[in-house]
């Protein structure tokens, strides 16, 4: 193939730009223009009948400017119109209805039982051995007593329900807590299985036997958890029965609505339901009879409208028969739970439960209970908290949406009872925080009066603290409350008790007081937790304290001036916890720090914090974790600014680099920051560097130059070299810029075939192509080094591209060559498309010197030869499509950048056109469009020769 010479088309960029630009037409006042600001000159405020809601509307005065929004609405927006026309009576009644609904339906502000469940199971545990006693009456045992009478048989069947004399007795002894939980879970499962296999009697038996376990108070410290486990079974049972009866009401035609009335229930369903109640009414023992009936309370809905409201008070009274106060309070809790679920509007029963409980309260100190405690070896201070979950629940149910007067009455009645700490605690846990907070001083008084031997006082202070964290006490009492509370807290000997209490009160302190008080509190915590390394057992609480403090002190200069803050951090000696805490601090800093800072206190402290997190990175650290840490550290670095003190800023970056060398994203951020700093300097000097600033900028450039090689990511390095080179060029550091570009060029051969992106291996060529195109645009303006040859950077780059092993099946190399051709065409222009301020590019260096142009053309020829060579190799069947598209793209390049007045180039383009169409691989539409474009271009001045060309380009018709 003959060598084709390259004749670049000479361009007048300015003229081209001007011709492409849209014509600017001056706008007369009053002409329509979509972006013209709407000026509001008149605004009216209309009072709408509903109090408190005003709607203001505005319209524009100038008639010619039409605001589409206001014009449509004719002054009033639809929402306020709607509000204005709405009948006030109607909204009133709907609000009333809603209020009533709120009364009868539990809202989301009611903490559900499910939340309490886990907490109770986690808190009330035991290491003692447990036992389960199940008596499943079996037919075998019965066979011994011969009964002939038919009636006896029927009786037997019923008696089996709670028989334990003759049935198979299953006693499981020496169970660990986990075994016990598993057993109960098994029972739950066998209940479901029995139900599913239509063994209703067996299901009932399981439930009865399970609820019997609740009368057993051995291993009393496990009782609350046992209650949770067994009531789960009861809930399951209740649901099964309800659903079964509900399903009986569903004919194949109609489905019962959710709020059905008993008249809609058919007789069969009623009869089945009644049968359940009769069966349960005949259960011999009180506790199972109570629990099982309570569990199917909801089923009363099938029988009568008033069923539930009659049942609840009766069941409430029934509990009076339970002698053990602990068992009875849990029975009440269960009843309240079921009651709240089924009929939340029936508050009287809830209150009755509470008052009945107060009546039996004295039993706790009675002989029966005391004897039991002695036998089990349980002390009163650990016995009384067993009541809390049940009482808290009952109190919570009652106080939910309860009027203030009721709460006050309840409190008064609690006060009257001796040793009311237990009650007090439940009042504080369940009542509205606002109620408690406004009476804080009263509560402190009551807590002080409590008997020391009973309920632990620190729990009381903890409960009070929890309320104060949610609601604010009266302004005047605040300091006194803190003093009184802390006086007690600081005297706590047991570090666990202490920290549990202190943790809660830190929130209150942070909320209402200054750093002085917080400092005192922190100091006190350090004093208590340091002896015997007590902090080691309390990391979660200490962590929570830190979180509360930083949540309230958004001003980090104040936070770090709290003297004891850093010593407090020193208590986190376990690395994982320390890193966790540091991360929290940094997150809050990033979130709340608005202004860049140079405060040395903040910088020192945060550098220390960041260093701690950074130093936790090791070979085993997960990528995600590293990313998070880098994000946090970067957030901090971005927030540091020394203003005009650029040197201080740079030395900060130097320090940061030495500190965070293990996190690549941080180094990348630092390079960007330094580059920014250099550009910032240039901006301040308005492009004219003084000797001092020039030296500073070179220092910045040097920083980048020595930092980049320590990075791992190849494209990160390439892009940063290019980017930093551009910055160096902009700052007139020519030799430094050359160094960057050379470094980039010498790095290209190292680009691997595949690179790892987000954990997946991808071919790298497309990335390389992208980078090189970007690089070429920069190379246009880089002036040649006087000591190196003409276009030495381009030549070096071409060599590297030539030697790089490209993928055989791709044409990227040719695409790059095409781009090089574009670059060289641009370089041969008299004046370049763009320049860097104060840097002479090759256009002014050579001034269109013919020797330069000849060199340039020689390069073009070589590149073209390569392209044509490649096109030839594509003349195989499987590559024809590639050949066609590549040929067309080369044709387009010549059209755009080549001078087609040159015959040989003209001929080449015609050949390429034919090549593109030769095998029918070309897209006809593209070809037609291209041809149209050429014809259009030919009408422009100096483009007449294109007309002739167009004539020589035939369009292939599809066959």
């Amino acid at each position: 193939m003959a060598v084709f010479p390259w004749h670049p088309r000479s361009r007048n960029y300015k003229a081209e730009f001007a011709s492409c630009r849209l014509e600017a037409v001056p706008l007369e006042f009053g002409d329509y223009h979509p972006l013209k600001p709407i000026t509001v000159t008149e605004s009216k405020t209309k009072k709408v009948s509903r109090k408190g809601s005003t709607s203001s509307t505005s319209s524009s005065s100038s008639s010619s400017v039409v605001d589409p929004l206001s014009s449509v609405l004719d002054g009033t927006d639809p929402l306020s119109m709607f509000a204005a026309t709405a009948d006030p009576a109607a909204t009133d009644s709907s609000r009333k209805r809603r209020d009533r609904d709120e009364n009868s339906i539990i809202g989301s502000d009611f903490e559900p039982w499910a939340n309490k469940r886990g907490e109770i199971l986690a808190r009330y545990t035991t290491t003692e051995k447990l036992s389960i006693n199940l008596f499943m009456g079996s037919e075998k045992g019965k066979a011994g007593t011969a009964t002939s009478a038919m009636s006896e048989k029927v009786r037997t069947r019923l008696e089996e329900l709670d028989d334990f004399e003759e049935g198979s007795q299953k006693e499981l002894l020496n169970l660990t807590q986990q075994d016990y939980v598993n057993r109960i879970e098994e029972l739950n499962q066998s209940l479901k299985d029995a139900w599913a296999s239509d063994q209703k009697v067996k299901a009932l038996k399981i439930v009865i036997q399970c609820s019997k376990l609740l009368s057993d108070t051995s291993v009393i410290q496990f009782y609350p958890s046992k209650f949770v486990l067994i009531t789960d079974i009861l809930d399951t049972f209740g649901k099964l029965v309800y659903e079964r009866i509900f399903s009986m009401c569903v004919d194949n035609r109609s489905v019962l609505p959710d709020h059905f009335s008993p008249e809609n229930v058919n007789d069969t369903a009623k009869e089945t339901c009644l049968n359940w109640f009769f069966k349960i009414a005949s259960i011999r023992e009180l506790i199972p009879r109570f629990y099982v009936e309570a569990s199917i309370l909801k089923c009363n809905k099938f029988l009568s409208k008033t069923g539930i409201s009659e049942c609840l008070p009766r069941l409430t009274c029934m509990i009076r028969g339970i002698g053990d106060p602990l068992v009875s309070v849990y029975a009440r809790a269960y009843l309240c739970r079921v009651g709240m679920e089924v009929a939340p509007h029936l508050k009287e029963s809830l209150n009755k439960n509470f008052f009945d409980f107060l009546l039996t309260f004295k039993q706790i100190h009675g002989d029966t209970v005391q004897n039991q405690l002695v036998v089990q070896g349980v002390e009163l201070p650990s016995y009384l908290p067993l009541y809390s979950p049940a009482m808290d629940w009952i109190f919570q149910c009652i106080s939910y949406h309860a009027p203030e007067a009721l709460l006050t009455e309840m409190m008064e009645r609690c006060k009257k009872l001796g040793n009311n700490a237990l009650l007090l605690n439940s009042v504080m846990s369940a009542f509205r925080a606002e109620f408690i907070a406004t009476r804080s001083m009263d509560f402190i008084g009551m807590i002080k009066e409590c008997d020391e031997s009973g309920f632990p006082k620190h729990l009381l202070f903890r409960s009070l603290g929890l309320n104060l964290a949610l609601a604010d006490p009266p302004e005047g009492d605040r300091l006194q409350i803190l003093n009184e509370a802390w006086k007690v807290i600081t005297k706590l000997k047991n570090p666990q008790d202490y920290i549990n209490c202190a943790e809660v009160w830190v929130e209150y302190t942070c909320k209402h007081f200054t750093k002085r008080e917080v400092n005192t509190v922190l100091a006190d915590v350090i004093k208590h937790m340091t002896p015997d390394r007590a902090f080691e057992d309390s990391y979660p609480q200490l962590q929570s304290i830190i979180k509360k403090v930083i949540a309230h002190f958004h001003d980090f200069s104040i936070l770090f001036s709290v003297e004891k803050f850093l010593p407090f951090l020193d208590m986190f000696q376990k690395e994982s916890v320390r890193v966790e805490v540091c991360k929290c601090i940094m997150e809050v800093f990033i979130k709340h720090q608005q202004e860049p800072t140079k405060d040395p206190v903040i910088l020192n402290a945060l550098l220390h914090v960041c260093k701690t997190t950074h130093d936790s990175v090791n070979a085993l650290t997960l990528e995600d974790e590293k990313r998070t840490l880098a994000y946090l550290i970067n957030g901090f670095i971005k927030m540091v600014s020394f203003g005009r003190d650029f040197e201080q800023q740079l030395s900060f970056y130097v320090e940061a680099r030495s500190m965070f060398c293990n996190l690549e994203p941080v180094l990348v951020q630092l390079i960007h920051s330094v580059n920014r700093l250099a550009m910032e300097t240039r901006k301040v000097m308005k492009g004219n560097h003084s000797r001092k600033t020039a030296a500073f900028v070179r220092a910045c450039v040097a920083y980048c130059f020595i930092t980049i090689p320590s990075l791992v990511g190849i494209f990160t390095r390439l892009n940063l070299y290019l980017h930093s080179g551009q910055v160096a060029l902009a700052n007139q550091c020519l030799s430094q810029a050359d160094a960057f570009f050379k470094a980039a060029i010498s790095l290209i051969p190292e680009v691997p075939k595949m690179i790892n992106i987000d954990g997946k291996m991808r071919p790298s060529e497309s990335f390389l192509l992208e980078f090189l195109c970007n690089f070429f645009s920069t190379l246009l303006i880089v002036p040649d080094h006087p000591e190196h040859g003409v276009l030495f950077l381009v030549r070096e780059l071409l060599n590297v591209i030539q030697d790089y092993t490209w993928e055989d099946s791709s044409d990227d190399k040719i695409r790059i060559y095409t781009c090089v051709l574009h670059l060289l065409s641009a370089m041969s222009q008299e004046s370049y498309l763009y320049h860097v301020d104060k840097v002479d590019s090759n256009d002014s260096l050579y001034g269109g010197d013919s020797k330069f142009l000849a060199e340039n053309n020689k390069l073009c020829e070589t590149v073209m030869a390569q392209i044509l060579e490649h096109l030839k190799t594509l003349a195989k069947d499987e590559a024809l499509k590639r050949q066609s598209s590549l040929g067309l793209s080369f044709f387009n390049s010549i059209l755009a950048h080549g001078d087609l007045r040159n015959n040989r180039l003209n001929q080449l383009s015609v050949n390429l056109w034919h090549l593109a169409q030769r095998h029918g691989c070309a897209d006809t539409r593209t070809m037609v469009k291209t041809l149209e474009y050429i014809k259009k271009r030919s009408k422009q001045p100096d483009m007449g020769h294109l007309t002739e060309l167009a004539l020589r380009l035939p369009l292939q018709t599809r066959t």
Binding site: F278, R314, G321, L359
Partner: protein, 270 residues
């Protein structure tokens, strides 16, 4: 095979009174068609004496003298001989319930001696207050050994409607010994007699615990008991037999003292 026959009665609770109409359907279903010699439906009601396993010997004397007494007996022919098609065939029926001759229809009941297949009475409330102390007890060997206690209470009525629960209240005012349990024991007393003599048998038919453990003093505990449907019927007194009911309040103290207070009941249906 595969042919099944089922009688379905319309009323879900299956309770019918004299003079009412018993209605329902006979359901015959099978895969193939069935040849048959006609379907007839017979209603029978009878009273008969059964011998309890416990009292063999005592009764034999007059056992034979009481023959089953027939109360109702009627037969209707539903379908003439023919063929049922395959699938489900439902044949509706209706029966008027009329007592044969001049006999009285009693309520169905399963007792030890007497089984009655289906009286009406009037209810006048008769509340009873009671106080139980060591002094009020009978059958005590050494009164001095008993721990001191005072239990008060009342039953709202000893005349009860059989469908309504027995209600009342009980208060443990004081008790030296811890209370283990308080129970309500429902006892049925059946008496059968004729010229040769009579037999009496008391059976516990239901026991309901109303207090478990050492209940709180001076706090009323509810007395509440639902009458079991199968084992109770209105109190009956006829020339041949009597069915009566009693309730015992049983208090169990620690050291195994058992205190029982008995109240006869009169059940009726309104």
């Amino acid at each position: 095979m595969g042919t099944s026959l089922d009688i379905k009665i319309k009323r879900a609770n299956k309770v019918y009174h004299a003079g009412e109409v018993l209605s329902g359907v006979v359901v015959i279903s099978g895969k193939d068609s069935i040849q048959h010699q006609g379907v007839s439906l017979t209603v029978e009601g009878s009273v008969n004496l059964q011998l309890s396993a416990k009292s063999v010997g005592v009764f034999e004397a007059f056992y034979n003298s009481v023959k089953p007494i027939q109360i109702i007996s009627s037969t209707i022919e539903m379908v003439k001989p023919g063929k049922f098609p395959s699938g489900k065939t439902e044949i509706p029926f209706e029966f008027p319930l009329h007592v044969k001759g001049n006999k009285v229809l009693y309520e169905t009941y399963h007792g030890v001696f007497v089984n009655i297949q289906p009286q009406k009475g009037k209810l006048t409330p008769s509340p009873v207050d009671f106080t139980i102390t060591p002094e009020t007890l009978q059958n005590v060997k050494e009164r001095a050994l008993l721990p001191k206690f005072l239990i008060r209470g009342h039953l709202n009525s000893t005349n009860c409607v059989i469908t309504q629960p027995l209600t009342g209240e009980l208060v443990v005012e004081s008790s030296e010994a811890a209370i283990k349990s308080i129970e309500l024991q429902l006892v049925r007393v059946e008496t059968c007699g004729c010229a040769e003599g009579y037999a009496r048998d008391a059976t516990e038919i239901q026991n309901i615990q109303i207090a478990d453990g050492d209940v709180c003093r001076s706090l009323s505990v509810p007395i509440y008991m639902v009458f079991p449907r199968l084992f109770t019927c209105p109190t009956l007194e006829t020339t041949n037999f009597k069915v009566e009911f009693e309730v015992n309040i049983v208090v169990l103290l620690h050291a195994d003292h058992l205190i029982t207070e008995n109240f006869p009941l009169k059940l009726c249906r309104v």
